[in-house]
C-alpha cells in the first residue's frame, strides 16, 4: 500500500516563538536518525559529514541558536553512521553564500532559528541547485522551502518534510521516513 502522509497546510507562528522549538539536543538526535533515511546522504571522500550551520551573522558573532546547534552536533558527534563536523557560517548575501557552498561542499545546511523568512528564502534558493540537505528547527522555514524540519505538536516532536523542495534538489528519502513525517505543502 502506498504510504499515506499528511499535508501540513497551515502556517506556524513566526520565528520569534522560540518556546515552540524542539530542544536542540533532540533536534540533532533526530537528524542523526533521519539522515540514515536519505539515499544520497554520503560524505565526499571522507567518512565525515560537513554541516554548515547558517546564521544571520550579527556583528558580535554567531547567534545563540547557531552556537547551540554547533556545539550539540559536536557533542553528538555522528549523523547516522558518519562523523559530523559542524561549521558556523554567517549569511551575508546570496552571491557570497553560493561561493561558500561551492567551496565547502557541505552535505547539510542547518538553518539557525534566528534567520528570518527573507534570508531563509534566499538560502533555499541558493541550495536548490545542489543536493545539500537543508534542515531547520523552525517549522515556518520548511514552508519556505527547507527540506526537513521539526515541530512540536501535542507535546511530542514531529518531523516535517517539504517533498516538493526535495524533489527539486533530487534528494531521495526511504519510505520509512515519510511514514513517520508530516509532509508540508509549500
Amino acid at each position: 500500500m502506498a504510504p499515506r502522509v499528511l499535508v501540513f497546510a497551515l502556517l506556524f507562528v513566526g520565528t520569534a516563538a522560540r518556546a515552540d522549538d524542539l530542544p536542540v539536543q533532540l533536534q540533532v538526535n533526530l537528524l542523526s536518525k533521519m539522515s540514515t533515511y536519505v539515499q544520497n546522504f554520503v560524505p565526499a571522500g571522507t567518512e565525515t559529514v560537513k554541516v554548515l550551520v547558517v546564521h544571520p551573522g550579527p556583528k558580535d558573532g554567531p547567534t545563540r541558536g547557531a552556537q547551540s546547534l554547533g556545539s550539540t552536533i559536536t557533542q553528538v558527534g555522528k549523523l547516522g553512521k558518519y562523523g559530523a563536523e559542524p561549521k558556523l557560517v554567517a549569511y551575508g548575501d546570496a552571491k557570497t553564500f553560493r561561493a561558500t557552498l561551492a567551496a565547502e561542499r557541505p552535505q547539510v545546511l542547518y538553518l539557525a532559528p534566528e534567520l528570518d523568512s527573507t534570508l531563509t528564502a534566499e538560502i533555499v534558493e541558493a541550495a536548490t541547485s545542489s543536493t545539500v540537505l537543508t534542515i531547520s528547527g523552525v517549522a515556518e522555514h520548511v514552508r519556505l522551502g527547507v527540506v526537513l524540519g521539526f515541530a512540536l505538536m501535542e507535546g511530542r516532536p514531529r518531523v516535517l518534510i517539504n517533498l516538493k523542495q526535495a524533489q527539486k534538489q533530487q534528494i531521495v528519502f526511504l519510505s520509512g521516513l515519510v511514514s513517520h513525517s508530516v509532509v508540508v505543502d509549500k
Binding site: 499515506r4 530542544p23 533532540l26 547551540s68 507535546g155 518531523v159 528519502f173 505543502d185
Partner: protein, 752 residues
Amino acid sequence: MPADVVEAPDAGFEEVDAGVFAVVFDPAAPDESGLEALLAEQVGSAASRTAESGSSAPGTTWSISGTDLKRYGIQSVEEAIRYLGHGMTSYEYDQRLNAAFGARGYLSDNIGLHIAILIDGNQAGGSAKTARGTQQYMMPIELVDHIEIVLGPGSVIYGNSAMLGVVNIVTRKGSSLEEAHVVAQLSGGTAADKWAKDATWGEVWGRAAVYGGTKLTWRGDPFDLAVHFAARWDRQQGRSAWRPILGVSPYADRFGAFEREDVFNRDVHGRLFARATWRKWTFMTTVAIGQTTGTGPIEASGKSSAFEPEYMLDAMWADQVGSRGDLSLRAYMVVFDSYATLVPVHNDAAKCRATVRVDQCADTLHYVNFRPFIEPILTWDWNRDGSQVTTLGAQLFLDGSVITSGVVATKGGNVDYDEPIVAPLPNAAAYIQHIWRAKYASINAGLRGDVGFLGWALSPRLAITANPWTNGTVKGVFSTGFRNPSITERFLEIENFLTANPNIMAEHVYSGELGVAQRWGAQNLQLAVFAAVWDGLITTRGIIVNGAFSSQFANIRTVWSAGANFAWQGAYKAFEYALSANYAPGRLRLPADIAQSTDQQLRDQRIDRTALDRYGSKAFDSVFLPADAMPDFYATGHVSLGMGEGRPRVSVAANLNSPRMRVNYASEATLLDLRNLDGPTLPWSIDVRAAIEHQVAPRVGMRITVTGRSLGTVPTSVRIGDSSAPLPTGGVGASTNPVAPLSAMLEANVRL
C-alpha cells in the same frame, strides 16, 4: 486517520499520497526503532520553565495529548488525571466545585489547594476556587494542545500549592485551528443515591462549545488568535443528605435516626477564552459567569444560590537581551466575584427579626477575590549554546479578598450587611535556577524564597539526570513544596466554634526520587521510587477558649510515604495505550506514646482511640495510621483502537484504587463503631469509561461515551453531608456515590 475526523488536533492537515516520491531503499540501514523512540519523547516546559525533553526534565513528567482528551470525552483536569494521568489519583465530589487529588502518600480533598494548575503557565489562582482548572466548565477543552504533568513538589518554580505536582494546560494557537468548530454534548446519568426521594432527573448535563482560530497580518506582523466559548448546564438530582437526629440511636432505628433530604443542583455556566500572539506579545483572557442553585451543594448545608462572574487578563512581553539573555515580563490579574445566598436548614427566627425584621431570612455573602501578578523572568545562556543556563524569576502578587456578609429576608427586600472585611495580602517571591547540560548528564539546581502576609517558605530542588545508554535515562531528584495557610485557616473566628491561630505556619513536603526510563521504538517505560515526608499538614484540633470548646486550624499532621510509580506508554499497529501503576501508601505519623493520651487529648487531636487500636501500627519509634482516602495502590490505563479509515475508533480508560479509608475516619466514633456495618474502609474501586467515535459526514463527527463507577470511587462520604452515618441497609455494598454510578454522553462535532 479515521480517529482525527472527530475533532482532530491536526485540523488543517489533508491527506495526500506521497508514495510516488518515496523510494524503498536498503531497509537494513535506517534505525527505525531509534527514530520512533525519539519521536515518542515527551517535550515540556513545566518542570523548569524551559523547553526540554522528558528524559532531561528534573522530575517524573507525563503528557496527555489534546487528541486523547477529546477521544475519551474528558471534561476537566480532574478527569484527565483520573483516566489518563500518571502518578496521581483523583475524584470529584459532586461534579460541581470540589475535586480531590492524591499522590505520593497524601490525598488532598481541600479543593485542590495542594496542586498547582496552570493555563499556559499562568498561575492566577491556579489551585484555588478561582482557578477553575479543576472544574469542567472552566477549561477550554477543545483548545487544549496537551496537558503536562510534573509529579511531585514543584514549589522551586511555582511556590504556593505546588505540593502534589504541577499541571500545565497548554493551549493551541489559532493558526492550528483556522476553521470554526462547533461541539454539542449531552449526558445523562443514573441517580447517585437509590434512597433519594426524587430520583427522576438523575444526573444530566449539556454543553456546547464554539471555537476557532485565525492568523492575520496586523501592522506587517502575524497576529495569531484563538477563541473558545463554552456554555454548560447541569441538573443533578437523585442524591440525598442524611442528617442525624439527636437522641435517636442509628443502630436501633436506622431509618428513623435521620432526616433525609434531597440534594440537587441546577447550574448554568459560560466561559469565553481567547489567546493572541503578536510580535513580542502574548495575551490571554477569560470571562466566565456562573449561576447556581441547589440544596446541599456545600456539604449538605441548606438551600443556596450563587452568581459568580470571573475575569482574567494576562499580558506577556518577551524579547532577547543581548546575545545571551531572554527576558519576559508578565502581568496578569484574576478577579473572582461571588454573590451567594444560603438558606439555613433550621431558621433562626430571633436572628432574622433582629437583623431584617422578618421571621424568615437567609445568610448572604459577597466574596471578591482579586489576584494581580507581576512576573519578570530572565534567562541567561552563559555559553550561548544551552550548556549553562541560569534563570532568575520573581513574582509580586496580591491575594486579595473583600468579604461582605449579611442577612437577607427570604422573600426579598430587607438586607442587613456587616462591615466588609478587606484583606489585600501581599506576597513576594524570587527564585534562581541553574541548568548545566553536559554530554551524558544534566544538573538542575534551584532555590525559591516566598514571603507573604500568611507565611514564608524556602523551596530548594536538586536534580541530576543522565543518559548513560541509548534511549535510557537515570534521574535523581530532591524537591520540596509548601502551602501557606489560607486566610480562613489563619484569621477566621466564629464564636464558640472556630478560633483564629496566629501561630499557624506553612505546610511542607520533602520528596526524594530515583528514576529510570527506557524507550524502545514507540514504547516508553519509566519507573521511579520515592520517599516523601508531608510535614505540618493543617487540620482542625480541639481547643478550650474561655472555658468553652472550640476548634482551631493548626499544623498537627505528618504523613510519611514511600513507594514506586511505573508507567508504560506506547503504540502497536492500530493500538495506542498507556498504563500507570503506582504503589504510594501514606501513613499518618503519631508519637509512639499516643496511646497514653487521655480521651480528651485524643479528641483534641481528632483521633479516636478505636482507630489507634484497630489500624495503628508501630515502627520507627512512632505509631502509624493509614492516611485518609489515599489508596496504597492505584492505577490508570487506557487503550484506543482505530479500526481503519472510515471506520469507528474504540477507546477504553479506567482508574483503579485499592481499598482505602474514608475521609476523616480516624476521628469519627460512629464510623468506627463495630455496629456500623458500613465501617471506615472502602473496597477496591474502579471507574471505567468507554468511548466510540466515528465520522458520519465529511465535516461531522459523533462520539458516545459510557462511564461506570463502582461503589467507593468517592471516599469523601457515605452520603453527601454526613460521613459518619450508618446506612439503612448497612454494608459497603449498599453505599452509594455522590456522583452517578452509570452515565452516558453523546457528542456531535462539526467543522464549519
